[in-house]
């Protein structure tokens, strides 16, 4: 308990010692301090610091050096680096100061736990300055009397410390003020410079860790002067056209130093400088005449200077001054050429004389005029014609002949030597051989092989080939010993037509031409291809040549690329002279895509895609099919017409059937009167209640025909007998039976399955209307409510019957049992009987049954009717009986044959239903 209070008191005392004002006047009374105080240390060196405790703290707080701990920026220093020197002093040692940081603090652990700071120091680590190197100085002249000396040096490595550099200079007996750099550490400028005394110059670098001096530079400042360039330079032309005189002022007096000079000059517009030989300007001077210049040429001059002995520095070049030399007479005549136009008349030339303006160094002045002389050499009597021209061309109308043209250029000083051009009547001399044009070093070189004869000179013409404008001729003259020149002003990717003429002393050779490109590129567009003609397996493609502007080079070939939508592309190379190509072996009725590519030496360009579809049929195939078909059709039609013509009576019958006169009908005699028209709109009207006087209904199970008893069949037997006995007046009934019964017999008796498909039960009713009180004719209907497929057959029969409507169709389901004065039903019956003639005649088993199921034997009825009308009963009856007997089998084998039966039914039904075609 005591110990605890003791340590608390100790800590309190420490705080008081640190924080309370000292009685001696200091603000802080520390319990210790560190030696050295805020040291500056060399990087990488070792360092030892001592923390010394005050005795007063020892006595009161029981604080000893053994309790001291060292920290670097709150980081504990390992205790291995501590050393307790005595009870009040502890040291810490760092082998490498690079591990040091600020602050380094001395702390104490009171009671072994409470850490209390005693003292701290700031540690600065850096490097001593290196010896400055590479000291050099230059004296700049800044005005006529003012010189400054600027010295530069290499300050060496970075010291991490505040390092001062100073430039020092002195005479042996005089030390000048130091030059201290501002903002930099590697240069300084001295303004107080004295010449002709060797001055020792050196640099001194100083920081907290030391001082270093550069090697001294001993120099007379006059030997390192860079003077100002000569001022007020002027250029004046002299009497001679090749001399210009320069004058200038030197801004440095001879008393300081004498100068030598460099003079450079160039032609205005030229970038290359020429220099006056240095030995010519190696002495002090203020003027110089430059010789060997071109007449009437503007020159630019510039001068610089330095100390005469060459020790020191050249000044900058002076400002540029220009001067122009005076004129001199032209040194040569202008090159002249001609273009002869004989388009108007071969005998009368339009001669365009053209010549080139002399180059400035040839003209030697301003050309005032050209003097042109034309002499007709074919006729000496003709006077010489002279022309003064100011332009560079002249056009003459001359008769065909040989002429000598002389041209002189004149300036203010004199005339040029004459240029002579011989214009012969014809270019009959030998031309150049092996003319060629090649790009060489970005120029178009034209070369040729000279003719055998001596050539004075060559004229090379060239022009830019254009599709839109005329060829504008440019030309150049080459000497006779030259066999190739470079053409100037040639543009890349343009086609040039080059022609070379050899000029002889006595004539002129014909021109040889060649086309050339300086540089080729791929075409700027591709050819647009289209089809000219498309067949089944081939297509003729056509395209236009690219214009010369689009070609950008020589077209080496065209490439046709075509393919189907999903097929591989086929490539065809075509000669560049072609504009048409036929693709063969194509697939018929197929869509093809084709495009075309034009190629030069430097690339290709593809044109737009074009699509076409090959034809389905080849040429003549359609004709080969259509013509025979048409011929066959015509033949059939013709045969048909002939047939119809032969059978016209029969056709006439069908189309305009003979309408029987009801008044003459037999049934009219047999049955009550039938009204001329009958309204079918309402059954009530058709069949008024009570009008049925005698109705017998027979129900027959279609699938069980054998179940009929003999008794059930009796009435039908009776009916048959009755029919057979009353043949003469039962033709209407018979007709009806003839129309319907075969069908019904098939359905009801033998075609059990077929009947079941439509209706398991077929009801037949025979309605016999008797006259009522002898007032209205009695209509007799045979009704069938069968749903058998008889309807189709009946509908077809309507067509044959010609014009029965739906009402009539419906009417067909009524079976006329009463007497109807039907006539002319023999034909359908005839056809039908014909169809069944192949049936087995012996198969008469079902005859009676057929009569039962069919209610009546229509063939029989028909036969009766026919017999009645045409008195052939027996034979017809035989026929019908046979037909009836065969019917079931016939239907089984080919039910469609039954369809023809209604042909004879419709007219009769109509008549039965009261519909009377008008």
């Amino acid at each position: 308990m005591f110990s605890r209070w003791n340590w608390v008191a100790c800590g309190f005392y420490l705080v008081l010692n640190i924080c309370s004002p000292d009685a001696s006047g200091g603000l802080v009374q520390s319990c210790g301090h560190i030696i050295p105080e805020s040291p500056v240390l060399a990087l990488g060196s070792n360092f030892t610091a001592l923390c010394i405790l005050n005795e007063s703290c020892l006595d009161f707080g029981n604080i000893y050096a053994s309790q001291i701990i060292w920290k670097i920026k709150n980081r504990l220093v390992p205790k291995e680096q501590y050393r307790e020197i005595n009870r009040t002093v502890s040291s810490v040692t760092f082998n490498d100061t690079s591990s040091l940081a600020t602050p380094l603090t001395c702390n104490i652990l009171a009671d072994g736990q409470i850490e209390q700071n005693i003292y701290g120091i700031t540690v600065t680590v850096g490097l001593a300055p290196e010896k400055p190197k590479n000291l050099s100085c230059i004296v700049h002249q800044v005005s006529r009397f003012t010189y400054v000396m600027t010295c530069t040096w290499n300050p060496g490595r970075h010291t991490f410390l505040d390092t001062q550099f100073r430039l020092r200079y002195s005479w042996p007996e005089e030390i000048f003020p130091d030059c201290i750099p501002k903002d930099v550490n590697n240069s300084c400028t001295v303004t107080d410079i004295q010449f002709f005394v060797n001055t020792e110059i050196w640099v001194e670098a100083t920081n907290a860790l030391g001082k270093a001096e550069s090697d001294p530079l001993v120099v007379d400042p006059i030997d390192i002067v860079k003077p100002l360039p000569p001022q007020n330079v002027s250029v004046s032309s002299g009497v001679l056209p090749t001399v210009l005189k320069l004058c200038w002022e030197n801004w440095i007096s001879d008393a300081v130093m004498t100068l030598k000079f460099n003079i450079r000059y160039r032609i205005v517009g030229d970038t290359n400088w020429m220099e006056v030989p240095s030995e010519d300007t190696a002495s002090p001077r203020t003027s110089f005449s430059v010789q060997g210049l071109r007449p009437y040429t503007e020159y630019v001059f510039s001068i610089r200077c330095m100390k005469e002995d060459g020790v020191g520095y050249w000044s900058d070049w002076s400002e540029e001054k220009t001067g122009i030399t005076t004129e001199e007479q032209p040194s040569k005549g202008p090159p002249i050429w001609r273009i002869i136009d004989t388009s108007h008349s071969p005998a009368c030339w339009t001669v365009h004389l053209i010549w080139k303006a002399l180059k400035p160094f040839e003209a030697n002045g301003v050309i005032l005029q050209y003097e042109l002389t034309v002499r007709d050499k074919s006729s000496l009597s003709n006077p010489v014609k002279k022309y003064n021209v100011t332009s560079t061309n002249h056009t003459l109308e001359l008769p065909e002949g040989t002429y000598e043209v002389t041209l002189i250029a004149r300036n203010s000083v004199g005339a040029s030597p004459p240029s002579v051009l011989l214009i012969p009547a014809s270019n009959s001399k030998a031309p150049v051989k092996n003319l060629r044009a090649l790009p060489k070093h970005d120029k178009l070189w034209v070369g040729w092989t000279a003719p055998n004869s001596y050539v004075l000179k060559y004229v090379i013409e060239w022009c830019l080939v254009s599709s839109s404008s005329n060829c504008i001729i440019e030309w150049q003259i080459a000497l006779g010993d030259v066999q190739g020149i470079d053409l100037k002003g040639i543009k890349p990717f343009k086609c040039y037509l080059i022609t070379v003429y050899p000029l002889y002393a006595d004539g002129q050779g014909s021109g040889q031409s060649v086309k050339a490109y300086l540089k080729q590129d791929r075409p700027s567009k591709g050819p647009t291809v289209q089809t000219k003609k498309v067949g089944k397996a081939e297509a003729v493609l056509t395209w236009n040549h690219l214009t010369v502007e689009e070609q950008n080079g020589f077209i080496r070939n065209y490439t046709i690329l075509y393919k189907t939508i999903d097929g591989n592309e086929t490539v065809v190379t075509v000669d560049p002279s072609k504009t048409e190509y036929t693709l063969s072996s194509l697939t018929s009725d197929t869509l093809y895509t084709v495009r075309m590519m034009a190629s030069t030496d430097n690339g290709s360009r593809t044109g737009p895609d074009f699509t076409f579809t090959t034809q389905k049929f080849g040429k003549g195939e359609i004709e080969a099919i259509v013509v025979p078909v048409c011929l066959a059709f015509l033949l059939i039609v013709l045969l048909g017409v002939l047939f119809c013509f032969n059978k016209r009576d029969l056709i006439k019958k069908h189309i305009w059937p003979i309408v029987p006169d009801p008044s003459k009908s037999n049934i009219a005699q047999w049955s009550p009167q039938v009204p001329a028209k009958h309204n079918f709109n309402s059954k009530d009207q058709m069949y008024p209640e009570g009008s049925f006087t005698d109705v017998s209904v027979v129900e027959i199970e279609a699938d069980d025909k054998k179940s009929f008893s003999e008794q059930d069949l009796k009435p039908f037997d009776l009916l048959k007998k009755e029919k057979s006995t009353s043949e003469g007046h039962s033709s209407g009934i018979g007709g009806s039976s003839c129309m319907s019964s075969p069908r019904q017999s098939v359905s009801d008796s033998d075609e059990g399955e077929t009947a079941q498909n439509t209706s398991s039960t077929v009801q037949y009713s025979t309605v016999v209307l008797n006259g009522y009180r002898d007032q209205t004719p009695v209509q007799v209907f045979s009704r069938s409510e069968s749903t058998q497929p008889l309807l189709d057959s009946e509908e077809r029969s309507e067509d044959h019957a010609g014009g029965a409507d739906s009402t009539a169709q419906r009417q067909q389901y009524f079976r006329q049992n009463g007497g109807q004065d039907e006539t002319n039903t023999d034909r359908p019956c005839f056809e039908r009987t014909k169809q069944i003639t192949h049936a087995n005649e012996g198969d008469l088993v079902g005859f009676v049954q057929l009569q039962i199921s069919g209610q009546s034997s229509q063939p029989l009825g028909l036969g009766m009717e026919k017999n009645t009308q045409e008195s052939a009963l027996s034979s017809v009856l035989q026929t019908c009986t046979e037909g009836q007997t065969v019917r079931p089998e016939t239907v089984e084998e080919n039910p469609l044959s039954v369809d023809e039966m209604p042909k004879s039914y419709l007219p009769q039904t109509v008549r039965q239903g009261g519909y009377m075609p008008q």
Partner: protein
Amino acid sequence: MAAADSPSTALRRRDLCSRGIRLAGKMRADVIDLLDAYVEQQGLDASASVAAVEGMPLAAVERWDEQTGTQRLLENLAAYRAFHALLAQMLEEQREQLGEADAGLGRALAAVLLQVSAFAYHLEELLRLENRGIPGEEEDGPPPPPRLSLFEQKLRGLGVLRELAQWAVRSVRDLRQLAKPSPATGAAPGLADSP
């Protein structure tokens, strides 16, 4: 002695002579320029005659061509030491009179003063090459000039500059004479017969 000159000594002498000649020439040019500025600045008449300044040796000398080299060097050294003192006094008086008002004249005076000092150094070096003892400067220097009026100070300054210009011309001639190679030894002719 001169015959014992090593090539390096001869080269050194020639270099010192050459440099001294050019320095004297520049000094003369600068003094001429300074004279113009001084006359204008001080409001003096350029043609005004000035009496000889006390303590200032005159450049004119009789039988100049008979002087030995050492004699020439010693006379030159004495003269330029005197000019150094006079010019320093002029510079101080100039600063007292004008302060910083005319720094250009002060800088020109200081430049001439430096040249005088540099030329004296050249002369001392040449004397050392001759193995001649260099006369020490008087410990106390020349006696302080009597207190002069401002105008008299101006006139004295004019006289000093004029005489310095004369001495510059003479010095050039003296050094050229010294720089001439001896026909026999290559040494300066004047030095051989120096007393």
